[in-house]
């Protein structure tokens, strides 16, 4: 086996502030061509105390060195479960930087922003087609804000009917942000201790006149398709509720099945997952929301409409839950997602989902028996193992850290919570069989090391820029900024 992880020359780099030297300059502005103006002294500060003074070279070298301490999808395999770390196509980066698209002001009158509006209109149409919903809003900035928008829509629908329902059902296999989102919408959370696939009986036991909605993730965070979804939606509807679907795992289903056809009422997309836009070290994402015909009036506003031959920003409708963002959402991310959908085409998208599911099942086939597989039904886009069978007092965290030494980004760990010591692997479709084989070889080797030489796991990582970090002290005595002399 070739081990990708190695320790090359890694350069040290101080904090910006430790480089600063008074009088250094990293910018150039044109000479002022109008008379100088002054504000009253009592409005002005003396200087921005502590702000750095650096040359352009200082800054370029600083951030270049920092970048080398990171691991991205372009560095190697990044099987972070539920995050869909697929390859980020480079042409999409160029697309988002096309001058007319990158530099149009959001308050430009609609007739002078037809290019962006047309792109947004086409994107919302494509997303509606892929998901089977009647209409899509592009405004939310990320998945969690999309969830929030979706739950607001559900609540607005209830309120419009005079319904005062106060609870939301959330199975344990749903996505981590769901409970916080329900609270933000003013709902009380009723957890369903679901184990594996959600059953009709589990939902029936909790579904009553006070339940506004069920929030599910499909496929769920165990990588399993919710096989009872149609019956569940029917039941929730009969009892006056709505079904929200977290679309984080849509990468399993493009061209295969559509949430809108399953009876789901609202779903958010993660353009930074399914639609290949870069994760940016934490963001930006984009979290469009699709809804059924009945819920269209409540969507956040304003939206993009086609009026004859002209695209326009439609003023927010009376029943709308309102505005989520100052402007039209993360449009730059939308350009990348649109470019992806256009590059893939309808058969390419379906092929992507098929290969994503193939890859997850291949990893499962290679690792089953080496690692404990708590759920045996057919996996979709991701597979969840546990650390139950690991020897040598080694745990999921140790496997993750050891994977770093082998040159991989670890999977998502300790999530979902229903699996103790979960190792959640989502390979995505953009990885080749060779990459998966090398990764699986590493996983198998690590299980062997746990048995034969567990210290290798407990000490890991040893090849990374830093070793394991003291997170306890970081939380107990938080140091959240640099201070001179501190």
């Amino acid at each position: 086996m070739t081990i990708v992880g190695t320790s090359g020359l890694v350069l040290n780099e101080k904090l910006l502030f430790e480089h600063s030297d008074p009088g250094r300059k990293g910018y150039s502005l044109p000479k002022l061509d109008v008379p100088a103006a002054r504000l009253a002294d009592d409005l002005c500060r003396k200087e921005i105390s502590g702000f750095p003074e650096l040359s352009e070279v200082d800054v370029v070298r600083h951030f270049t060195r920092l970048s080398t301490w990171n691991y991205g999808v372009d560095s190697g395999f990044y099987p972070l479960g539920s995050c869909t770390m697929k390859y980020n196509p480079k042409v999409n980066e160029v697309a988002a930087r096309i001058p007319g698209l990158a530099s149009v002001h959001p308050a430009t009158p609609s007739h002078l922003a037809q290019g962006s509006l047309e792109l947004m209109y086409r994107l919302q149409g494509a997303l509606a087609e892929i998901s089977g919903f009647a209409k899509v809003t592009l405004q939310p900035a990320a998945g969690a804000q999309g969830e929030f928008a979706g739950m607001l829509v559900i609540r607005a629908w209830h309120e419009a009917r005079g319904s005062k329902r106060s609870k939301v059902l959330i199975p344990a296999t749903a996505h981590g942000t769901n409970p916080a989102t329900a609270s933000l919408t003013g709902y009380d959370v009723v957890p369903i201790a679901s184990d594996g696939v959600l059953t009709l009986e589990e939902v029936e036991a909790h579904m009553n006149d006070d339940v506004a909605a069920l929030m599910v993730t499909n496929p769920n965070t165990l990588g399993l398709f919710e096989t009872n979804i149609e019956a569940i939606c029917k039941l929730v509807h009969e009892r006056g509720g709505m079904v929200y679907c977290d679309g984080a795992n849509l990468n399993a289903l493009m061209g295969i099945a559509r949430p809108g056809d399953m009876g789901i009422d609202v779903m958010h997309f993660n353009l930074h997952k399914t639609f290949s836009t870069p994760h940016g070290g934490g963001g930006p994402g984009s979290g469009p929301v699709g809804v059924t015909e009945e819920l269209i009036p409540y969507l956040p506003g304003p939206g993009v409409e086609l009026d004859g031959e002209n695209y326009r920003i439609e003023s927010t409708k009376a029943d709308s839950v309102g505005r989520m963002m100052a402007f039209h959402g993360n449009v730059g991310v939308m350009v990348r997602a649109y470019a992806y959908i256009r590059s893939m085409g309808p058969s390419g998208l379906k092929h992507a989902s098929e290969m994503a599911v193939l890859n997850a099942n291949y990893v499962r086939a290679r690792l089953e028996g080496v690692y404990d597989l708590p759920y045996k039904s057919r996996s979709l886009h991701e597979v969840i193992f546990s650390d139950k069978d690991l020897e040598g007092d080694c745990h999921t965290l140790d496997v993750a850290k050891r994977l770093i030494d082998y040159g991989y980004h670890p999977p998502t760990i300790y999530f979902p919570l229903v699996v103790k010591g979960a190792i959640m692997i989502e390979p995505t479709e953009t990885e080749s069989q060779e990459v998966l084989d090398e990764f699986c070889d590493a996983m198998i080797a690590i299980a062997g090391e746990a048995r034969d030489n567990p210290d290798l796991l407990h000490q890991a990582p040893v090849r990374s820029r830093v070793r394991r970090l003291d997170e306890t002290t970081a939380a107990r005595k938080p140091k959240l900024k640099w201070e001179k002399g501190a």
Partner: protein
């Protein structure tokens, strides 16, 4: 498809290893009744050349500061973007990584965020800042929710001079939380009316929210606002949509703000039709554990080396579930990196110089415009780089006429402020050359003659 490496041979071999006969068999758990039995109705795939041709064709349908003389602001600003920024964030170790859950291989992102947090603290005069929010408006809404949690009160006073889009987002976030949002009037100078504020403040008030500078470009008396808010135990939230102003203005922290929520778009981010931008969020030390969003802290590794980690995660959604301080998960990390690089390059001197140029250009434009017949300035409070102009002729006609002359003169205010239906908001930055300002003035003059 060039993004998917599988050959037919690979697929066959992998299916064999899995022990299924066909790709279709991988989807056995998806009931037949919900399967899509037709191809997706989308345009056929575009090659790289076709794609770029199509998108460039869309790009030219937009007006920008390259095609027009632009005086649009109102929460998004046309500023100088140093070349270095885009080249550095194009290092794919930055942009193809995700949230730094594994600190040993994410020190680049983590140190940069720590630097961002520090810079935002220095800029705002506050003690602690988070790793970013979606934009200024949602940051402002999160600030209101935080003030509600800190004070256990439900009444919030929003200045009418706060960016109306921020006000709208605050209303959305508070929609079902049984909160009471009350407007505070604008005084003749364009600042929040302190008398109206005093009359509306009471001991049920959680927060007062005002822009700094406000939507009309006027510099609020933050010290007076905070004094009034603090008299009844309410929090003062200052929203900073144009952070370039803080290169010159006293920091909100120095003036008594409890939470500063703002947008970093002015710091090196392209306008991009409204996003992605980056919200920033800064608080006092005592309130750190009540903050929304991710935080990066300094620590050491096993060998005593300095390193950085995500910290105080017990506030967050994935641990605290329904009792979390916010549901935010993905943020605007790469945009925060852009702002960090911008602040590093401009530094202490550069941000000051840029702020002074904005002030001077806008002052020049104000002075020139005030002499044009048929137009007048509405507010006389101290202003930064935006101001409100009243027009005797209908605003829509004036703006349309100027568009015809290649000028985007400003944002009409009637939709958000019916009482200002005869007004528009003009923004002048360091990017507007004197000749452009003179052209704006001449064009307005032309119509009046």
């Amino acid at each position: 498809m060039r993004y998917i490496p599988h050959t037919t041979g690979d697929v066959t071999e992998m299916l064999e290893r899995i022990g299924v006969a066909s790709l279709g068999d991988l989807f056995v758990e998806v009931p037949e009744s919900v399967r899509l039995k037709r191809p997706l109705d989308l345009p056929e795939e575009a090659s790289e050349t076709e794609l770029l041709r199509e998108l460039k064709a869309l790009g030219v349908k937009n007006a920008t500061a390259e095609t027009h003389k632009s005086f649009l602001g109102g929460g998004a600003y046309h500023h100088f973007i140093p070349t270095v920024i885009d080249l550095l964030i194009s290092r794919s170790e930055f942009y193809t990584a995700y949230t730094p859950y594994q600190p040993e291989i994410s020190q680049g992102t983590l140190q940069a965020v720590f630097e961002f947090q520090t810079l935002i603290c220095q800029l705002t005069g506050m003690d602690a800042a988070n790793a970013s929010m979606y934009d200024g408006a949602s940051a402002c809404a999160e600030a209101v929710l935080m003030a509600m949690r800190l004070t256990r009160r439900k009444r919030v006073l929003l200045s009418k001079a706060l960016n109306p889009r921020y006000r709208a987002v605050v209303a959305t976030y508070c929609r079902y939380l049984k909160m009471e949002l009350i407007d505070v009037a604008v005084a003749d100078d364009g600042r929040t009316d302190l008398e109206d504020l005093a009359a509306k403040l009471d001991d049920a008030t959680a927060a007062v929210v005002a822009g700094y500078p406000n939507y009309f470009g006027v510099i609020e008396d933050v010290a007076a606002l905070s004094e009034k808010a603090h008299e009844v135990g309410a929090k003062l939230i200052t929203a900073v949509a144009e952070p370039v102003a803080l290169g010159l203005l006293k920091s909100p922290g120095e003036l008594g703000a409890d939470i500063v929520a703002g947008d970093g778009q002015s710091f090196g981010l392209p306008l991009a039709f409204g996003g992605p931008y980056v919200g920033f969020f800064a608080v006092r030390q005592k309130d750190v554990r009540g903050m929304p969003g991710r935080l990066v802290g300094e620590t050491t590794d096993l060998e005593g080396q300095r390193g950085f980690v995500l910290t105080l995660a017990t506030r967050e959604q994935h641990i605290r579930r329904e009792k979390a301080t916010s549901n935010i998960c993905s943020n605007q990390g790469l945009c925060a990196l852009m702002a960090t690089i911008f602040m590093s390059l401009l530094g202490k001197q550069g941000l000051r110089e840029m702020a002074e140029q904005n002030l001077a250009k806008a002052a020049y434009a104000r002075q020139q415009l005030s002499a044009v017949k048929g137009f007048s300035l509405v507010f006389d409070g101290p202003a930064f780089n935006e101001f409100v102009v009243r027009s005797e002729a209908p605003v829509a006609e004036v703006l349309a006429r100027l568009e015809g002359e290649g000028i985007l003169a400003g944002i009409p205010l009637g939709e958000d402020y019916p009482e200002l239906a005869d007004c528009f908001l003009v923004c002048v930055t360091e990017q507007n050359q004197r000749a452009e300002i003179d052209a704006l003035v001449a064009a307005l003059q032309g119509g009046a003659a």
